[in-house]
Every structure is written in C-alpha cells, then in structure tokens.
Assembly symmetry: C2
Homo-oligomer: 195 residues x 2
DNA sequence: CGCGACGTTGATTTGCCTCAACGATTGTGG
DNA sequence: CCACAATCGTTGAGGCAAATCAACGTCGCG
C-alpha cells in the first residue's frame, strides 16, 4: 500500500523522503462521500480542492434557464474543485457532485502553499500538472467551437472510456453541450453505422 | 522606463534585485512583428512562448471545413503561444497571427525553467498566473455551454473592451463560435435596443 | 408489483448557418 | 486628392442541426 503523498506526487517522479511524506500527509485530510452527495453547493466559500483517490465526481453549473452544464469529471488520480471560485477567490458558482462512492483527500490553499514552501519540487510538479490541464481545457474549447456534436461524443468516449462507464448519459450530454435527446439520437446513429 | 523583467514579473509584487533582473533579461529575447505576420504556423516545432509588451495577437485553428476558430487574443501584459502543443510537447495545431504591430519577448521552455530554478519566487508567480488563466478558460467553456451567442458577445465587449477595439468583427465572431453574419445581426439587434 | 429514474422516439420549433448580393470603409497607385 | 480595388460589414432568403415539448419504453429496486 503506497502512501497517499507518494500517490499524489507520483512516487516514480518525485522520490519523496519519509520526512517529506509525513509533512505532506499532515496537511491532507481524507474524506469519504456517498454517491449522490453534493460535496460543494453554489455560493459557498471554497476552502478546499480535492484529490480523487477513488470514485467519480463532476462539477456543474445550473444556468438561468435551469439547465445543468457539466464542466469537469474526475476519477482516480484527478483533482477537482470549483476552480473558477477557488483560483479567483470568489464564492462558488459550480456544484461538485459525487457520482460514485468516493475517497478524496482535501487540502486548503494555505496548506498547499506550505507544502510548496517546504518542498519546492512539489511546486514544480504541480505547475507541470497545471500546464497540462490548461492545455487540455484549451483543447476542449477548440472542440466545442469546431466540431459537431457527434464528433465531440466520439472523441469523448475515445479519450475517457473509464468515465463513460461511470456516468449517466445525461451527464455526458451536459458535458458535450447537447440535450439528452440529441445524445440519444447520436448514439442510435452510431449503433446503426457499426452494424 | 521600467525593465522588461520587472514588467513581466510585476515590479510591485516580486521586488527583483538587479542581479535577478540581469539573469532574467539574458534569457528573454525581444522580437518585433508587423501586423499581418504569422508568428507561428501549424505543424511546427513550438520553441517559444511570448510575452506581449505591446500590440495585439491571436491564436486560431483552421478546422477541416476550412473555418477559423479563435482560441485566444493577447494584448499588453498577456502571454501567448500554442499552449496545446507547447505544454503537451506536440507539433503546433494553432496559428499565431499578429493583428497589430507588436513588440514581444520570447522565451524557450528550457530558459524559463532556468529562471524558475535560480529565482524560485518567479515559479510561484507564474504558477499563480497560470491558475488564474486556468480559471478563466473554465469560465469560457461555461459560457460556451450555457449562454446564447448574444449574451456571449455582450460579456466579451464588457470583459475585454480594449481587445474589442483592436480586432475585426470577424475575429470576434470566430472567438464566440458564430459566423460574421450572425454577429452582425446581433450587433444590429443590440443597437436597436439601446436607441 | 409498482414506482421512479433513465433513455428513446416522434413532431415541431428555433437559433444559427449557408449562400448570395450588396453597402461601407480602408488602402493604394495614378 | 481622387479613383478604384480590396477588405470588411450588412442584409435577405432558405436550410439544417439541435432544442423543445410530449409521450412512451425500459431498467433497477424498495
């Protein structure tokens, strides 16, 4: 059983000492959530970001018209929070919902900075993670702008097969920016093409 | 005249010493581009990211159907590159176009890491910048998913009045994910409402 | 079994696109 | 400084992808 600090900061990359592991683990807090739990609701103070050790979650926004729009899914090894509120120091505008029983490790901004201060290589590690996430989100914007719904769906199930199996179709639809009816028709079309 | 290192790493925040300024400035290279220049074309090695000291640029993708989709604009104080390729170590898929005569400072990944290694506070500074950019891009995804074109346009001119004045309407349209004709009709509608 | 959650299907509407033509503005050479 | 072309923006007619509205299967579960 690998330590959670070594899991988060990739054992093979960072080679943390036992002291460093202790320092890190004192600052993370393990939390459990049941399927269906709203981990964070709108208009709250956002105190934490969450590392997903197990389970599946999503962040979504409810628009004025009452519709849900999924921004992000997260499975084992991913991070999740309302990053708009978290990084811009505002109240939450997103909800975090637990889609499958989950084990998370939460950390506050202050404690995260403590880790960066004391173990500088962790800051580099996280910066590189952030850079790659940033690039992925740009890719998503690109896809939304330039690809039809069917292509976006095919890309999604190709890129995230694990997530596809863990979430409902209407979650995927709201991630792709279409209605569940449209997704249903797209799926039908694809099924026919294969046979 | 403030030094470029102090401009990039916010004079008021980082309080760089003269030695640090020299170290940084030895690693940035000043480059000029004329309006209309393609700073980066598709399928290239991406060696640099660019700090915009003056001027206006954009990154865009040309889709299979031949249409342009603008990912990002950049004006004074912003950074620009094909971050998808840059951060994910791939060939470029975006073009960088100079929309107004520009003065840029370019830096390679290696030299940037040298600065982070030698002046750790710069790494923190850039990480915080990256976090805020990340949040902004999430916001954009949200807007694309949940708002109609008219609202997206109103938000754009509200959030980026400076950019609006520097770029053509068809650039804005391609940023919003609509055609220039649609934008024209939206603008007409707004003009009528005000009067 | 019966209920609620999820997914599908059909009919109709709508926001935006496409295609085509025509003004307006800008830039350039005579 | 004007003439002309090129670029950019606007307008109209028609079409299409996806949304909306409504009804109906299907699956899992108390």
């Amino acid at each position: 059983m690998i330590s959670i600090a070594r899991e988060i900061f990739d054992h093979n990359q960072l080679k943390l000492t036992n002291d460093e592991v202790s320092f890190i683990e004192a600052r993370y807090k393990k939390v459990y959530f049941q399927k269906g739990t709203i981990v964070l609701d709108v208009n709250q103070q956002i105190d934490y970001q969450y590392y997903v050790h197990d389970g599946c979650l999503r962040t979504y926004l409810i628009s004025d018209s009452g519709k849900e729009h999924t921004i992000q899914f997260a499975i084992k090894g991913w991070w999740i929070s309302d990053y708009i509120g978290y990084f811009l120091d505002q109240k939450s505008i997103l909800c975090i919902e637990c889609l499958e029983d989950a084990i998370l490790y939460k950390i506050s901004k202050e404690k995260a900075e403590e880790i960066f201060d004391n173990i500088p290589k962790t800051e580099r590690f996280i910066r590189h993670k952030l850079e790659r996430s940033f690039a992925s989100f740009q890719k998503r914007i690109l896809a939304n702008l330039s690809l039809p719904a069917k292509k976006r769906y095919l890309n999604f199930i190709h890129d995230y097969p694990t997530i596809e199996k863990s979430v409902k179709n209407y979650h995927i639809a709201s991630y792709l920016g279409i209605t569940t009816e449209s997704l249903s028709r797209i799926r039908k079309e694809i099924a026919h093409r294969i046979s």
